[in-house]
């Protein structure tokens, strides 16, 4: 008799457990407000990435096309994947001394792993991450980018004690080069 009781209590317990599960899915079926889907291409307008989002590397330029990169190559040394190449020139400045300036700051987006070591190690805070996230292109060569804009120059700052490095979340919103 005991086994017969167990037989029916098994059925009852089983049905009860199944009913519990059905209630969970049933609850969400009748609560369409809880839908979490984001409809991507339509919500481009409202879609705003977080300020710290590591989209792609940029060399921050101000409105007068000045940047801070002096071509020291520390980012190139720190990059674990060789995705940064610095081509620097040496030009004489007003005092007649040879000064290292940047010719091309080449960035291979296809090799970048977004470890942020370049941004962290940059001594002149020239590098930053933009919030650009739509990287798809049809030609692989387009993923190799020159970060300094044509005609841009290094911004000469008056000699002053170096300010502490600001956190990386204060980066410019967009890269005008793109």
């Amino acid at each position: 008799m005991n086994s017969v009781g167990k037989y029916f209590s098994d059925i009852f317990y089983g049905l009860k457990s199944l009913w519990k599960g059905l209630m969970v899915t049933g609850y969400y079926f009748v609560h369409p407000k809880q839908i979490v889907t984001q409809q991507y291409p339509e919500n481009r307008k409202e879609l705003k990435m977080f300020d710290r989002f590591k989209g792609e590397l940029i060399l921050a330029h101000d409105e007068n096309n000045f940047h801070h990169c002096n071509g020291c190559g520390i980012c190139q040394l720190n990059c674990p994947n060789g995705s940064i190449e610095i081509i620097a020139d040496s030009v004489p400045n007003e005092d007649g001394k040879a000064e290292r300036i940047i010719d091309k700051h080449i960035y291979h987006l296809s090799m970048c792993t977004f470890c942020a070591l370049c941004v962290k190690s940059c001594p002149s805070n020239a590098l930053a991450f933009s919030q650009e996230f739509e990287h798809a292109v049809f030609d692989r060569n387009k993923l190799t980018k020159v970060l300094n804009q044509p005609g841009s120059r290094i911004k000469k700052e008056p000699k002053e004690p170096k300010a502490p490095k600001p956190p990386t979340d204060t980066v410019p919103k967009s890269n005008p080069a793109n």
Binding site: T25, Y28, I35, V36
Partner: protein, 363 residues
Amino acid sequence: MPFNIYDFSGTTKAIDQFLYAKMPPTWAFITELAIVGLIILLFYAVIGLYLVYLERKVCAFMQNRVGPNRVGKWGLFQTIADLIKLLMKELITIRKADKLLFNIAPFIVIIASFMAIAAIPFAKGLHAVDFNIGVFYMMAVSSIGVIGILLAGWSSNSKYSLIGAMRSGAQVVSYELSVGLALLSVVIFSGSMQLSTIIESQANGWWIFKGHIPAIISFVIFLIASTAEINRGPFDLAEAESELTAGFHTEYSGIRFAFFFLGEYMNMFIVASLAATVFLGGWMPLHIGNLQGFNHVMDFIPPIFWYFGKTIFIMYLIMWFKWTFPRLRIDQLLTLEWKYLLPINLVNILIISFIVLMGWYIK
């Protein structure tokens, strides 16, 4: 009977007489066959496609998603776009596959469900054939489909397919029993196997209400067993995509795959409409005892709506099961059938026979 205003038999009779008046009897008969065939074919395609859409929407809402929403308003044309895509895809031929069986397997599956549709009464006077052994016919025809599944698994020369097909064979053969016995309970109640008679017998109340608890038990068993028979989750062991990638149709592509896919959804439709017909009164409106006013209001809803409403309700239940439960294992599946469903069913039949003998059900 007030719902005679929605009776289709007059219309069909008129068409029949018109055709026989214009043509020799043989031709009239052939024309009728062609018309009915064409209508069913169209109906089949439309229902099949929109069932896929319905399923995708239902599961999406259960999973906090929106489901298809790109092609057309609310994604209404998504499945049609899918069908066009499947039509244009390459039919991959499998080396060392049994070509003949490999090619006819999808057709067997689809023909089985096609034949079953013929006997479904959609409304009064709106069915292709009204066999006096309708229930028996539906059972017989719908189980032809498993032959197609077995052939597909065996002929595609793939181990995943073979395991899927064998699982499906074991599953359908055992669950056929429960489906049959569950239907038998209503046959005992109504004393007929003819679907139209079964519906007429429910004019004053559906069998699920009239038959007391035994009928409800039969209904639940029918739901479980038929879900298993049409290879849907949680009994989708024949496909079991997390185990066998796709089971019996692993090697199928393009429109051949679409046939299996459509066949599966149509089987769901057939099972749901059979359940609606037998247990929930088919196209019969809901009548409660002697509430004349309420009954009259119900009568004005056309029977075709009643029929589709009930069918969709049962299909929703089947979908609800699929999107909630994890899959059973093959031995548990057979345990469920042979140790639980079948004994309960047999005892249930016994009780029903006794009730009918004593006349204790609501007449």
